[in-house]
């Protein structure tokens, strides 16, 4: 990166400016994120129970339809312009659950609708979610390798 060392003048201004900079309310953000994120997960759990109770899904198999339903709900909320307000209020609370991923994909798709379906929606849909997919898959790969190594060499190998 082309980040240069700051001159003394710049450092001095940085100090002065920091005094006035409104800080992110970290504690408030954490608490709100905890509760909103928890509420989203509670809704997910309720939907999962609905699938178990009314349909022929076990706890194992109810995961997929639950995720699909949550993404569908987040799609509706994004389209109606509600999710970004929840996001501003809750921060990580609404970004970390699967609904946040859905929101990232869908908001990009809506945004680039004006550039057409192929180059606009198709090309930009995963603009933000792309890195989530890439690093999600990559980290799953790394964790799986570590797990395999540990179970093969240290536990099962002898």
């Amino acid at each position: 990166m082309s980040q240069k060392e700051k001159t003394p003048e710049q450092k001095e201004y940085d100090q002065l400016q920091k005094k006035h900079e409104t800080k992110r309310p970290i504690l408030r953000n954490c608490v709100v994120a905890f509760f909103v994120g928890g509420t989203i997960c509670l809704i997910g759990q309720a939907i999962s129970f609905l699938y178990i109770y009314f349909f022929n899904f076990t706890e194992q198999t109810a995961g997929n339809p639950t995720v699909a339903t949550m993404i569908f709900i987040s799609m509706l909320l994004t389209g109606f312009g509600v999710y970004d307000r929840i996001g501003q209020f809750a921060g990580a609370g609404s970004a970390v659950p699967i609904t946040g991923f859905g929101n990232a994909v869908i908001s990009s798709a809506i945004e680039h609708r004006t550039e057409g379906f192929v180059l606009g929606v198709g090309g930009n849909m995963f603009k933000m979610a792309g890195s989530v997919i890439l690093f999600g898959v990559f980290s799953a790969f790394v964790v799986a390798i570590i797990k395999t190594l540990i179970t093969q060499w240290f536990l099962g190998g002898f």
Binding site: F49, L50, Y53
Partner: protein, 159 residues
């Protein structure tokens, strides 16, 4: 403002739509509690012979000695035995291990039976529903066994 109103009404109808789709009720009334609370149903034997009923009772007693569990439903079939358990919340990380231990203990005690141990809520729920059906509708032995096999198959499903 008018636009907002129509937006929210569409949202509202979508929710109604989703919820109403879910409520095509096909379950018996009492079984909903089986998902959330301790029900401790009596063990069920598919065959009515005394020895089988007694054996189901014995299996239950062994299960009760496990402290990590707080609820169990047993369905003893002709050759297979389904044991649905609920593991205590604090012990859920060790769930697979507990299942395995219980299965090994039971197989040592009753070497002639095929045990299926599951900690899945759905399996528990279905076991309770089967028991209720047997009691309420006097299902014949064949039908009981058939339903038991269905549940065992469901518990093996992965995705």
């Amino acid at each position: 403002m008018k636009k907002n109103l129509s937006r929210y009404s569409i949202l509202f109808f979508c929710l109604i739509f989703i919820l109403s789709a879910c409520s095509s009720n096909q379950a018996s009334e009492g079984s909903i509690t089986a998902l959330f609370t301790e029900v401790n149903p009596a063990p069920l034997s598919v065959e009515d012979s005394e020895s089988r009923v007694e054996m189901a009772q014995k299996i239950r007693e062994i299960i009760l000695t496990f402290d990590d569990l707080y609820d169990s439903a047993i369905v003893l079939g002709k050759e297979d035995c389904l044991v649905a358990i609920k593991v205590r919340h604090t012990k859920r990380f060790r769930m697979k291990k507990i299942e395995k231990e219980l299965k090994e203990t039971l197989e040592k005690e009753f070497p002639n039976e095929n045990f299926t141990v599951s900690s899945d809520y759905k399996i528990f729920l279905e076991a309770v529903r089967l028991k209720d059906k047997v009691k309420e509708e006097n299902w014949p032995v064949d039908k009981r066994e058939e339903q038991l096999q269905k549940i065992i198959k469901l518990s093996r499903e992965q995705t």
